[in-house]
């Protein structure tokens, strides 16, 4: 169906009984166009980075290699980051895959389940020894994208008027959703390691340890401030609850 080089199936006819080649192509074209549009909606920054015409060509290759496996077209494009990472003509733009990961995570966050934020007082009032062995549970809309490239700056430069030109090193981008709109925050060094540890189910103490091992002056207060200020944490689970 998606291969334009293949002939139309036998037995499809126009009103005069002749083979309906162009008529079949209408369906073929509808499928390709609608999936291309779905990918354009999903990856606007990738489209800007490589140009709209190039994006259509890339989408054409992608949709034939990875047609949707589900009718939930709003999530179509899950494999785009890995596809871009391995797509030879775009190897001169090595950050594309991570930018696509960021766009995919924003979309997932937008549709994620709703959850009420943890009352900060619960965290603040817990004795330190109990806090260290507790586990923080993040909202379903929370994602962390860690990259060797300044992907948040790249995203902003392409989507926000007047945003500065991307510069500098890799970024750890935290995605949160206090209400309906996903919000991005670039975490300070160590913050990415801390949040990654929390998201992988490690205890508060283990996450602090991992972040401090990486960045001796790791600023826990700042990172916790971001998490509490963006409704990222929804529960604090102590061992005895489990």
């Amino acid at each position: 169906m998606l291969d334009p080089a293949r002939a139309a199936p036998q037995g499809l006819v126009n009103p005069d009984g002749a083979p309906a080649t162009k008529r079949f192509d209408v369906y073929r074209n509808n499928v390709a166009v609608s999936l291309t549009e779905a990918l354009e909606t999903a990856f606007p920054v990738i489209a800007k980075l490589i140009g709209a015409e190039n994006f259509k060509k890339v989408a054409g290759v992608y949709l034939r290699q990875h047609p949707p496996s589900s009718p939930l077209i709003m999530f179509y494009g899950d494999r785009m980051p890995d596809f871009l990472a391995g797509f030879a003509p775009l190897q001169h733009l090595p950050y594309l895959a991570d930018v696509a990961r960021l766009e995919q995570a924003l979309r997932r966050s937008y549709h994620a389940g709703d959850a009420a934020a943890l009352d900060a007082a619960i965290l603040q009032e817990l004795p330190a020894d109990r806090l260290m062995t507790a586990r923080l549970e993040m909202a379903p809309a929370v994602h962390l994208i860690r990259s060797r490239y300044p992907i948040h700056q790249i995203w902003r430069f392409n989507m926000e008027q007047g945003a500065p030109k991307p510069a500098g090193q890799g970024e750890n981008v935290l995605i949160t959703r206090a209400e309906f709109d996903p919000q991005m925050t670039t975490l300070l060094p160590g913050g990415g390691t801390f949040v990654a540890a929390i998201l992988s189910g490690r205890t508060f103490g283990e996450a602090v340890e991992a972040a401090t091992a990486q960045v001796p002056g790791f600023d826990l207060t700042q990172t916790l401030g971001v998490l509490l200020g963006t409704a990222a944490i929804i529960r604090l689970n102590e061992e005895q609850d489990r």
């Binding site: 169906m1 998606l2 037995g11 499809l12 006819v13 126009n14 009103p15 005069d16 009984g17 002749a18 309906a20 080649t21 162009k22 008529r23 079949f24 209408v26 369906y27 509808n30 499928v31 609608s34 999936l35 779905a38 047609p67 949707p68 496996s69 589900s70 009718p71 939930l72 077209i73 709003m74 937008y110 549709h111 994620a112 389940g113 709703d114 379903p140 809309a141 959703r177 309906f180 709109d181």
Partner: protein, 286 residues
Amino acid sequence: MLDATSHRFDKLPDAPGVGYKPQHFSDLLDAPGPVAWLEIHAENYMGDGGRPLAQLRHLAERFPISVHGVGLSIGGEAPLDRDHLARLKHLLGWLNPASFSEHLAWSTHDSHFLNDLLPLPYTKATLDRVCDHVDEVQNAVGRRMLLENPSTYLAFEETTMPEVAFLDEIARRTGCGLLFDVNNVFVSATNQKTDPLSYIDSFPLDQVGELHLGGHDEDQDETGAPLLIDSHGREVVDPVWALYEHTIARGGPKPTLIEWDTDVPDWPTLRAEAERAAPMLAAALA
């Protein structure tokens, strides 16, 4: 998932409705005009939460909602996708809409979803299969569904039954209702060189729970014959309005949807289509 909705609209009114687009949310609530109900595509509301479901919950307090599925592939050879059926059951259970409909078409092949509504041949074998699928859907979701007549661009040599007889038989056997898309009748009749009026006059309109109107694009096939494409990207054309008036004169007024899914216009432009349908419905009621 949000709490289940609390309203209960038992049925769609015999009035104009529109396909809901999120960019119209505020304008629609401020100035609905004659728009008395809304249709959503089921697949767009199968996320877990966030703005889409919150908006839908809000709209459902005020408007009867019709849930229109585009992803079940009821006309396909493959068994129905059980995961998708479960998602649909969940959405319908949560929303408790006034109506649920799907298409006489297929879209899944080799586990790939093709995101278009593809036609099927009308034979005894495909009839049995579609009836099994409709039974399965209605049993799974626990409610009656409406099945929509397709727009077609070509025909199958193996077809042995007229489309109207095929749909009529499905409704008889499964107890499902029908959704009658007037633009699809016009598009298919033009493309197949058949008479749209005789299609309408032979259609079991007493089984129809909803009418659709939408715009199409005009093209030609390689022989120069007209080829209309069901794009839902512009105003309903005059000949389709005329067929619509014929339909409601014969079958009585019915809930009537304006579909506009690509190149979606601003709210006043979409509402103007509903405003055009309203007096025709009123005339059919008189």
